[in-house]
Amino acid sequence: MDLLTQPVGLAHYLAVGTILFVCGVVCMAVKRNAVGILMGIELVLNGANINFVAFGAPFLRSDKQFAIGLDGQLIAIFVIVLAAAEAAVALAIALAYYNNHATIDVDRADELKG
């Protein structure tokens, strides 16, 4: 099998990041549970993180003049920190919604509907 004996390059990492990103987008679009939507957000952020880290790896690409070095990992660190912060706030919002409406279904949040 070619994939097992040849080194994988940046394209393979980016493909994984893309799949995770798209799964996250579909999850955000499809789920009715507020916490399920949050999980979609986490998937999106992780797909982006894989992209950043893969671009920052010096041995995955052969065009050295575009290497970004440590920037990739640093940005990924900040993304992880911000994702944790955003998950905390979003969960607080979801819990407040649940406490006030007795349901976690976001489709029932239609009081402002014209």
């Binding site: 010096p58 041995f59 050295k64 070095g69 440590l70």
Partner: protein, 441 residues
């Protein structure tokens, strides 16, 4: 060590390039089996020790019948009994998650053992961020607990699981801060290097390095006990309040897996304490160095010295475990609000103050208060990490340290300050080392 075993297997079996993966797989399995065996035997000994110590503290004898006067065979007998018990799963339980939960806990606890060295160089996977990795993986154990508590479809289990998750996750913060202190003193997160930095006499151990580290050690002991849910922090498993917490619905083999996970986690945090604070595999007296054995380059002598180091290490780990068991059977249990208050109101501020104190101490006394011989330093350089054949033309393309003159780092004032923060007669941090090309040329 992995490549040594694999190379040996490839040689004797004359494996072609396409079949070499079998040798590497066997080598990895051998290493994992070794660590697993040590841990499993330790767990069996701990269970017996726990019952004996509990008995003695409570003014009774503990097991005395199974296997002779001291009840040596009590642990295997218990294991056999648990294997033969009926396998119960509650009717409303989520079957897949119920079955999976104990194994998640066990895998998380055991994975932390992969990065912990038992002697100089005796480690399954030598990582540069070993300390961080051990902490991170030990923190994953909480998932097994939550999933097990939820999947049991029982009020007691869920409450116990929630309490345990809150407790473990909260105590990870002061635990992390306490662990940063010896990392700061050693300048590296590699556990082997931290152990070697404490070689020599017992006053080289970090627990005696300065008063702040001494206090940090006791805070670490508290947080580690809370992190593995041992009394007095064992409210999640409170027998008198929550039946058995998240383990209520587990019986037989699955319960024994949870127990093994808990004892392995105890072993892990105790091992971490031994390496970070108590000198790891270095005994109080540097016997091997005084006998001149460390200067000999013979492989058998190095192995012998490492066996001695491993014995030292295991003694320290067992002392830590006995301390935890002593605490369990002496102190009453804390309420969950007391547990959380202890973490957030006492441990976190104390750990922060200790961290700042150690930083100031290391800045004021860079070499430590006592200058002493560190025989482990010389031997540390003999432990070779596996490196591939390097090509000088391509080395500058690799890695984060560019090809540059070492003195260039000191021109910048900020870097000079950072350079002044290095402690003791140890190597500078990684970024200030000349790049590998400079070392070779």
């Amino acid at each position: 060590m992995n490549s040594a075993i694999a190379d040996f297997l490839i040689k004797i079996a004359h494996l072609s390039a396409g079949q070499q993966w079998m040798a590497y797989t066997v080598a990895a399995l051998v290493q994992v089996t070794l660590v697993l065996t040590v841990v499993m035997i330790s767990v069996a000994v701990f269970i017996w020790m726990e019952r004996k110590i509990a008995g003695r503290i409570q003014d009774r004898l503990g097991p005395t019948r199974v296997g002779g006067r001291f009840g040596w065979l009590q642990s295997p007998a218990d294991g056999l009994k648990l294997l033969c018990k009926e396998d119960l799963i509650p009717a409303q339980a989520d079957r897949v998650l119920f079955r999976l939960a104990p194994y998640i806990s066990f895998c998380a606890s055991f994975s932390a053992m992969l990065a912990i060295p038992f002697a100089n160089g005796w480690v399954a996977a030598r990582l540069d961020t070993a300390v961080f990795f051990v902490l991170a993986v030990t923190g994953l154990e909480v998932f097994g607990v939550i999933i097990g508590g939820y999947a049991s479809a029982s009020k007691w289990s869920l409450y116990g699981a929630m309490r345990e998750a809150a407790q473990v996750v909260s105590y990870e913060i002061p635990l992390g801060m306490c662990v940063v202190v010896p990392v700061l003193l050693a300048g590296t997160m590699d556990l082997v290097d931290i152990g070697n930095a404490q070689s020599g006499w017992c006053w080289n151990w970090y627990v005696f390095h300065d008063p702040f580290t001494f206090v940090t050690f006791w805070i670490y002991a508290t947080c580690a006990t809370a992190g593995v849910n041992r009394a007095p922090f064992d409210l999640p498993e409170a027998e008198s309040e929550l039946v058995a917490g998240f383990m209520t619905e587990y019986s037989g083999f699955r319960w024994s897996i949870f127990m093994m996970a808990e004892y392995t986690a105890m072993f892990g945090v105790s091992a971490l304490a031994a390496i970070l604070f108590l000198g790891g595999w270095n005994g109080p007296v540097p016997v091997a160095h005084l006998l001149g054995l460390t200067a000999i380059d013979n492989q058998a002598v190095v192995w012998l010295v490492n066996v001695l180091g491993c014995a030292n290490f295991l003694v320290k780990v067992f002392v830590g475990i006995i301390f935890m068991m002593w605490l369990r059977w002496t102190l009453p249990r804390l309420r969950i609000d007391q547990v959380m208050a202890m973490c957030l109101k006492y441990c976190v501020p104390l750990a922060s103050v200790m961290l700042v104190g150690v930083m100031l101490w290391a800045f004021t006394f860079p070499g430590g208060l006592l200058k002493s011989i560190r025989p482990g330093q010389a031997r540390a350089s003999q432990i070779q990490r596996p490196t591939a054949e390097t090509d000088a033309d391509h080395m500058s393309d690799v890695g984060w340290v560019e090809r540059s003159e070492p003195h260039q780092f000191f021109d910048n004032g900020m870097v000079g300050l950072a350079a002044g923060l290095k402690t003791g007669p140890l190597d500078p941090p990684y970024c200030l080392q000349p790049s590998p090309i400079e070392k070779r040329s």
